[in-house]
C-alpha cells in the first residue's frame, strides 16, 4: 500500500481577524502537486492566505503548514518557496541578471550557483537577451517575467503567483499563462495561482479554491467544474413548446436560450431522450451541438454566495 502523500500546503480552520474585519473565516484545505488556482474578488482573503503561508503574518486561529512545517514559525522553509507579488518590486537601476543572482543568494544558494541559475532562469523566462539592461527601462511584460524569474531562480518546491497577468496586454497575458503552465509541466514546480480572473484560472489550473468574503465557498478539480458547465444546445424550426414538454416528460431539464433550448450537464442518455422527444413533438431539428459555459457562469448561476467576478 502506498504511503499517503503529504500535502505541500495545508490550512486547518484558518482564521485571520484584523480588528473588526474578518479576512479569513475558518478555512480548511490541502494543496498538493500541480497548479492550484486561488480565486476570489479583491478583499476575498487571497493575499491574507498567501501571507500566512509565507509566514509573514500569524493566523488568529487555526494553523497553516507548508512542506510539513508550521508556516509562521519556520524561516528556513522559505528557502523552498517562491513568491511573485502583484505590485512593483524591482529596483530600477539594477540589471535583471544582477538582481536574480542576488535574490538566489538571499534564498541561500552559493554565489557561483546563483549566477548560473540566474542566467538559466532568465533564459527560461524569455529575457536572456535583455538580462544586462537596467530594469527601469523594461516594459510591463518584461517586468512580470523578471518577477516570475526571481520567484523561480532558487528552484522552489512551490511558487505563489499573485495576479501574474495584472497589467498585461492580451499577447503578454497569453505568454505569462503559458509560462505558468510551463512552470509546473516542464520545471516540476507546483504553483498556487491567485487571481480574480476566472478565465485565467480555468485555462491554467488543475484545481481551484474559491474564496468569498474570507470563506472557502468552492474547491475541487477544474475538470469537475468544467463537467458541470457542459451543455447541449438545440434549435428547432417549429413546435419548440411541444419539444420542451416531451423532454420534461422524460425528466430532462431544459432552459430557454434565445431561440433555442439548453440542456444542463448532459449524460450519455440525454441524446436518446432528445431523439425520442423530437419524434414525439414532430419538431424539425435545425441544429444540435454540445457547448461549454465559462466557470464564471457557473458561479453566477449558483447565486451571490458563490459569485466571483469574471472581468477579463
Amino acid at each position: 500500500m502506498m504511503p499517503p502523500v503529504e500535502p505541500l500546503l495545508a490550512a486547518e480552520n484558518l482564521t485571520k481577524h484584523y480588528k473588526d474585519v474578518v479576512a479569513l473565516n475558518d478555512v480548511s484545505f490541502n494543496i498538493s502537486d500541480g497548479i492550484t488556482g486561488l480565486l476570489g474578488e479583491n478583499g476575498a482573503g487571497k493575499s491574507t492566505a498567501i501571507k500566512i503561508f509565507l509566514g509573514l503574518i500569524q493566523p488568529t486561529f487555526g494553523s497553516a503548514s507548508i512542506l510539513g512545517q508550521n508556516a509562521s514559525s519556520s524561516v528556513g522553509v522559505r528557502a523552498r518557496l517562491g513568491y511573485m507579488p502583484e505590485h512593483d518590486c524591482l529596483p530600477s537601476h539594477v540589471t535583471a541578471a544582477e538582481f536574480l543572482t542576488h535574490m538566489a543568494e538571499v534564498s541561500g544558494l552559493p554565489p557561483s550557483t546563483a549566477r548560473t541559475r540566474a542566467a538559466d532562469t532568465l533564459r527560461h523566462t524569455g529575457l536572456f537577451e535583455e538580462r544586462y539592461r537596467a530594469m527601469g527601462g523594461y516594459s510591463t511584460g518584461m517586468k512580470q517575467r523578471v518577477k516570475l524569474g526571481q520567484a523561480l531562480v532558487h528552484d522552489p518546491a512551490i511558487v505563489f503567483l499573485d495576479e501574474p497577468t495584472a497589467g498585461l496586454d492580451p499577447v503578454g497575458r497569453e505568454e505569462m499563462l503559458a509560462l505558468v503552465r510551463k512552470t509546473h509541466r516542464e520545471f516540476g514546480i507546483s504553483v498556487l495561482f491567485s487571481s480574480h480572473l476566472m478565465v485565467d484560472v480555468e485555462r491554467t489550473c488543475d484545481r481551484i479554491l474559491v474564496l468569498q468574503r474570507g470563506r472557502l465557498v468552492q474547491s475541487g478539480e477544474v475538470g469537475h467544474f468544467t463537467k458541470e458547465t457542459e451543455t447541449v444546445f438545440i434549435e428547432v424550426d417549429a413546435n419548440r413548446d411541444g419539444l420542451v414538454r416531451a423532454l420534461e416528460k422524460r425528466g430532462v431539464v431544459v432552459t430557454a436560450d434565445g431561440g433555442g433550448l439548453t440542456i444542463e450537464g448532459p449524460d450519455e442518455s440525454v441524446y436518446d431522450h432528445v431523439r425520442d422527444a423530437l419524434v414525439e413533438a414532430r419538431a424539425p431539428l435545425r441544429r444540435m451541438a454540445p457547448r461549454r459555459r465559462a466557470l464564471t457562469e457557473l458561479f453566477q448561476r449558483d447565486g451571490d454566495e458563490t459569485h466571483v467576478g469574471a472581468s477579463t
Binding site: K51, L54, L56, I57, V75, G76, V77, R78, A79, R80, L81, Y83, P85, H87, D88, C89, L90, P91, S92, H93, E98, H102, M103, E105, V106, S107, G108, L109, P110, T113, R117, D120, H124, Q150, H154, D155, E186, F187, G188
Partner: protein, 300 residues
C-alpha cells in the same frame, strides 16, 4: 584550425546542491549593502558622492601629514612638537561634520529604495527575517563607515611616519595611536550608522532622510554651542552634551586620553569619562534598538 560546437538546450535543471539558509541570506544582504553604499556595480552617478567624500577625508589627513612633515623639516622635530599640530587625536573632531554628511547621504540608500520600490517584499519571503535584513544592512554601513574613518587615519599615520626623520622611532613612540584611532573610528562608525539608518527607516524618500540628518547634525552644533556658552554650570554642560556631532568626539577624547581641538573648550568635556561614554552608548544603542524593533515587526 577552427573548432565548431553545438549548444544544446538541456531544458530546466532542478537544483540539488546545498542551500545555505539564513547565514547565506544575511551575507548576501550585507554584501549588497556595502556595494550600494560605495556605488560599486552601479552607474557613475552612484559613485560620485561616496568617493568624493572619501577623497576629501583622505585629503584632509594628507594635508595634516604634509604640514607636520614640513614643520619637522623647517623648525626641527622638537620645535614641531611644541607647536602641538593636529594629529590622530584631533582628526575625527576636525572631520566629524564630513563623516556625518557622508552618513546622511549614504545610509538612506541602503533602506529607503528597498521599501520605496517594494524589494523589501521579496527579501521578507526568503529565509531572512526582518531583523536579519536590518542587522545585515546595519553591519554593511558600519563596515563602510569603518573603512571611511580608518582610511584617512591610516594615511595620516603613514604620512607622519614617513615625514619623521626617524620613521622607526616615530612608530615605536606612537604605536598606541593605532589601536586608539581604530577604536575611536569604530565608535564614530557605530554612532553615525545607528542614527542615520534609524532616520532612513522612517521614510521611503532618500532625500528627506538626508536633508533631515544633515539639518540635525549641522543645526544642533551652533545652536547647542551658542546656548551652552550662555548658560553656566551643569545646565550648560548638559546642553553641550546635545551637540550631536561632538558626542563621538568626546569618546575619541576618552580613548586618546586628551581632548581634541574641537572639544577642548566644550562645557561637556568637563563630564567624567563614564558619563561621556554612557551618553554615547545611549545615543548609539537606543537608535539601533528602535531600528531593530521597527524591522522585526515589518511585513510586506
Amino acid at each position: 584550425m577552427t573548432h565548431s560546437g553545438t549548444v544544446f538546450d538541456i531544458g530546466y535543471q532542478r537544483y540539488t546542491g546545498p542551500r545555505e539558509g539564513r547565514n547565506r541570506a544575511r551575507l548576501a544582504v550585507f554584501k549588497d549593502g556595502v556595494r550600494t553604499a560605495l556605488g560599486l556595480g552601479r552607474g557613475a552617478r552612484a559613485k560620485v558622492l561616496p568617493w568624493f567624500f572619501i577623497a576629501v577625508l583622505g585629503s584632509i589627513a594628507l594635508v595634516m601629514a604634509l604640514i607636520a612633515g614640513a614643520m619637522d623639516r623647517l623648525v626641527g622635530p622638537e620645535a614641531a612638537d611644541q607647536l602641538n599640530l593636529p594629529s590622530h587625536t584631533d582628526y575625527y573632531g576636525i572631520a566629524s561634520i564630513l563623516f556625518f554628511v557622508f552618513a546622511a547621504v549614504g545610509a538612506p540608500e541602503l533602506l529607503c529604495p528597498d521599501r520605496r520600490e517594494g524589494v523589501i517584499n521579496l527579501y521578507l519571503v526568503r529565509p531572512l527575517a526582518g531583523s536579519d535584513y536590518v542587522m545585515s544592512r546595519w553591519l554593511a554601513f558600519f563596515t563602510v563607515m569603518l573603512a571611511v574613518t580608518w582610511f584617512p587615519q591610516a594615511i595620516l599615520l603613514i604620512g607622519l611616519t614617513m615625514g619623521d626623520p626617524d620613521p622607526a622611532a616615530y612608530l615605536i613612540a606612537n604605536w598606541l595611536d593605532i589601536p586608539r584611532f581604530l577604536a575611536a573610528g569604530a565608535a564614530f562608525a557605530a554612532y553615525t550608522t545607528s542614527l542615520a539608518l534609524l532616520t532612513a527607516s522612517f521614510t521611503t524618500r532618500r532625500a528627506y532622510a538626508s536633508v533631515f540628518l544633515v539639518g540635525l547634525f549641522v543645526i544642533t552644533t551652533p545652536f547647542t554651542t551658542g546656548l551652552a556658552s550662555e548658560i553656566e554650570g551643569p545646565a550648560g554642560q548638559w546642553i553641550s552634551m546635545f551637540n550631536l556631532t561632538n558626542i563621538p568626539v568626546h569618546v575619541n577624547d576618552v580613548i586618546f586620553g586628551e581632548a581634541s581641538v574641537i572639544t577642548r573648550d566644550a562645557p561637556a568635556a568637563a563630564f567624567s569619562a563614564p558619563v561621556l561614554v554612557g551618553w554615547y552608548a545611549a545615543w548609539t544603542l537606543v537608535p539601533a534598538g528602535i531600528l531593530w524593533f521597527r524591522y522585526r515587526r515589518l511585513t510586506p
